[in-house]
């Protein structure tokens, strides 16, 4: 097999694996953004919290993967609901800056708490189904990577079903389009906001759980994951979750290719430079229409 081809393939696999995580973080951003117009700066912290909780439950308490997975997601969802109830809900008519600082404060608290409970080191967790690499046309692929991609597909499918075929999902969409009209139609918009925080936290937790075996989670990873996830959300057009999935995977692939062919030291900068370029040149994202975005605040 041509070694250049194998390299590209290897970078692609790497990129899709990272990109899947960015895609899920971006979906989390979008859910809260659609329900409230807020960009949640603590989104990355949900990912960290999910991952670290999973580490404790599987490695500390020796629970089965499935059980630990469900418990971790529920735990982070509760954290998301608490965040909404205690910090977002009580604030009446806040300025954008105040909201930004409130979500930053929550992210600092979660980060601080994570550091107290789990310490400063990074945490190892066993892979879901062994860590023996599989051969894929000459490139290697971890079983965990297949899990990551598979679970992303499941999340996307669940997302589509939820927002298109369930009453609650349709109510959430109605709130996102026009909150006042939705309220007039008898939808409890406050509850929808709370639900959006819960779901957003849940998706973040899933992302954290599935990536932890590969990257070894530590308390300080939230900011960077959040920023890159936001990059994916903007690239896909803020509020457009299917766009975010494509953009997330694209961002991951570009990052992996950049790291492979340009410089691995600057890997983290690549996704961020793409973020800045999109924000500066086309803040409506690659799938958004510039005309429609003019109505949104940015």
């Amino acid at each position: 097999m041509d070694s250049a081809f194998v390299d590209v393939l290897q970078f692609l696999i790497m990129g899709i694996q990272r990109g899947s995580i960015y895609a899920m973080v971006a979906m989390g951003f979008n859910m809260i953004y659609n329900a409230t117009g807020i960009i949640n700066f603590a989104q990355g912290e949900f990912v960290v919290l999910g991952g670290l909780m999973m580490v404790t439950l599987t490695m500390g308490f020796h629970l089965s993967i499935v059980f630990a997975f469900i418990l971790s997601v529920l735990f982070v969802m509760v954290a998301g609901i608490l965040m909404e109830r205690l910090t977002i809900n009580p604030v009446k008519q806040p300025s954008v800056l105040r909201l930004i600082i409130i979500t930053i404060a929550v992210s600092i608290i979660i980060k601080g708490a994570a550091m107290c409970f789990w310490g400063k080191g990074s945490h190892y967790m066993r892979h879901f189904s062994g860590s023996t690499s599989l051969d894929f046309y000459g490139a290697t692929i971890l079983p965990q990577t297949l899990w990551v991609v598979g679970i992303l597909c499941c999340v996307v499918a669940a997302y589509i079903v939820f927002f298109n075929y369930t009453m609650t999902g349709k109510c959430m969409r109605a709130c996102a389009i026009n909150r006042d009209a939705a309220r007039l139609a008898g939808i409890n918009d406050r509850k929808m906001v709370m639900l959006s925080f819960a779901l957003s936290a849940g998706i973040g937790a899933i992302a954290g759980i599935i990536i932890t075996p590969i990257i070894q989670m530590d308390y300080a990873r939230g900011a960077m994951l959040g920023l890159k996830g936001f990059g994916a959300a903007v690239l896909g057009g803020l509020g457009n979750s299917m766009g975010a999935v494509v953009a997330g995977v694209l961002l991951g692939v570009l990052e992996a290719l950049g790291a492979g062919y340009i410089s691995s030291h600057y890997m983290d900068a690549i996704a961020l430079i793409i973020l800045l370029f999109v924000l500066f040149i086309r803040p409506s994202g690659i799938f958004g229409s510039a005309e429609a975005m003019r109505l949104k605040e940015f």
């Binding site: 807020i38 960009i39 700066f41 910090t87 009580p90 604030v91 806040p94 300025s95 954008v96 800056l97 105040r98 930004i100 600082i101 409130i102 930053i104 404060a105 929550v106 992210s107 600092i108 608290i109 979660i110 980060k111 601080g112 708490a113 550091m115 107290c116 900011a223 960077m224 920023l227 936001f230 990059g231 903007v234 410089s263 030291h265 600057y266 983290d268 900068a269 961020l272 430079i273 973020l275 800045l276 924000l279 500066f280 040149i281 803040p283 605040e297 940015f298």
Partner: protein
């Protein structure tokens, strides 16, 4: 400068003069000197956020650029720290101009994320560009500043010097607020459309104030580098930028004095906490410095929820309420008479 502000300004000068007489311990004097660096950055950031209404979670990057320019030029090319500081300012002006023009077209969350992304990139470069910045190991052997050939060796000298820079920054900021430029900035904060309808070039004003506040940060970074004599990327991560805006927000966005209060309180917080930890031990709580982040986030959240205008305006509103109470009784007697 207006009446109450000149009173505040002279109070600040007085406090700076007296402080080293009260604090004789070199360690605490050092802590206060570090506080000065944060104060300087926060005064500039307050002009940008509180007066012009533009959010930046990227000012840590300008501090880093100032510090690294000083570090690199003084150690590798053996330039004078003053010249290096000036180069840092020029470099920061250019970078702030290039970043500011596209970034300041954005508003709110987008601007916040763009500036945060910028700060992250600068940090990544500081770690990765090993040839230039020394990478994670950083740069050692940065010389101390000299003033007219007189090297600022003692902590006390540097304390005076750093705080003089803060005083100069406050002087500049207060002058600016009560000027044609300051009104233009506050106008575009109030309503960009209305400001433009008065002939204010809002794009130019936003970029200019962004550049000016970046210069404050850059000078602060240069002073920091010359004080600690070595720099590494550690203190210049994204968290540093976040800390800076939280200082401004905790103190109070809408006033220079608020920003100073916030910078002082949060810079001293780790010291206050470690001081309190002795008392907490009595109550049975084993306080560790690791809890600092948690406490810090908690304070920030509580202030944003219950005192959104910041500590400073909280204090002044309590004071004015007290004054009102006395004022009312005075009026009451007038009526009776």
């Amino acid at each position: 400068m207006k009446g109450k502000h000149s009173a505040g300004f002279f109070a600040l000068i007085g406090a700076i003069m007296v402080m080293p007489l009260l604090v004789t311990n070199d360690y605490y004097l050092g802590v206060l000197t570090f506080t000065a660096f944060n104060c300087l950055t926060c005064v500039g950031l307050c002009l940008l956020m509180g007066y012009a209404g533009q959010i930046s979670i990227g000012h840590g990057a300008f501090v880093a650029i100032g510090a690294y320019t000083t570090g690199i030029l003084t150690t590798k090319l053996a330039w004078s720290p003053w010249l290096a500081m000036l180069c840092g300012v020029v470099l920061v002006l250019v970078i702030a101009f290039c970043v500011g023009i596209p970034a300041l077209r954005l508003k709110g969350h987008y601007l916040a994320m763009a500036t945060l992304g910028f700060a992250s990139i600068v940090h990544v470069v500081a770690v990765a560009a090993v040839d230039l910045t020394g990478g994670p190991a950083g740069i050692v052997g940065i010389p101390r500043l000299n003033l007219f050939g007189y090297v600022l060796n003692s902590d006390k000298q540097y304390f005076y010097f750093a705080w003089s820079a803060v005083a100069a920054g406050v002087y500049i900021a207060l002058n600016l607020i009560y000027s044609r430029v300051g009104r233009g900035l506050q106008a575009l904060h109030g309503s960009e459309d209305a400001a433009a309808s008065l002939g204010i070039n809002i794009t130019a004003y936003k970029v200019q104030i962004f550049m000016l506040s970046a210069v404050f940060a850059s000078v602060s970074g240069s002073l920091y580098a010359c004080y600690v004599n070595y720099i590494d990327p550690g203190p210049f991560d994204v968290m540093h930028s976040v800390l800076l805006i939280t200082m401004v927000a905790v103190g109070g966005l809408h006033s220079i004095w608020g920003a100073l209060t916030g910078a002082v309180v949060l810079s001293l917080l780790p010291e206050i906490l470690s001081f309190l930890s002795d008392y907490l031990q009595v109550v049975g709580i084993q306080y560790q410095p690791d809890y600092d982040t948690l406490v810090y986030g908690g304070i920030l959240l509580i202030i944003m929820l219950f005192l959104p205008e910041g500590i400073f305006s909280g204090i002044s509103s309590v004071l004015s309420r007290v004054r009102l109470l006395f004022g009312k009784t005075a009026k009451g007697t007038d009526h009776a008479g």
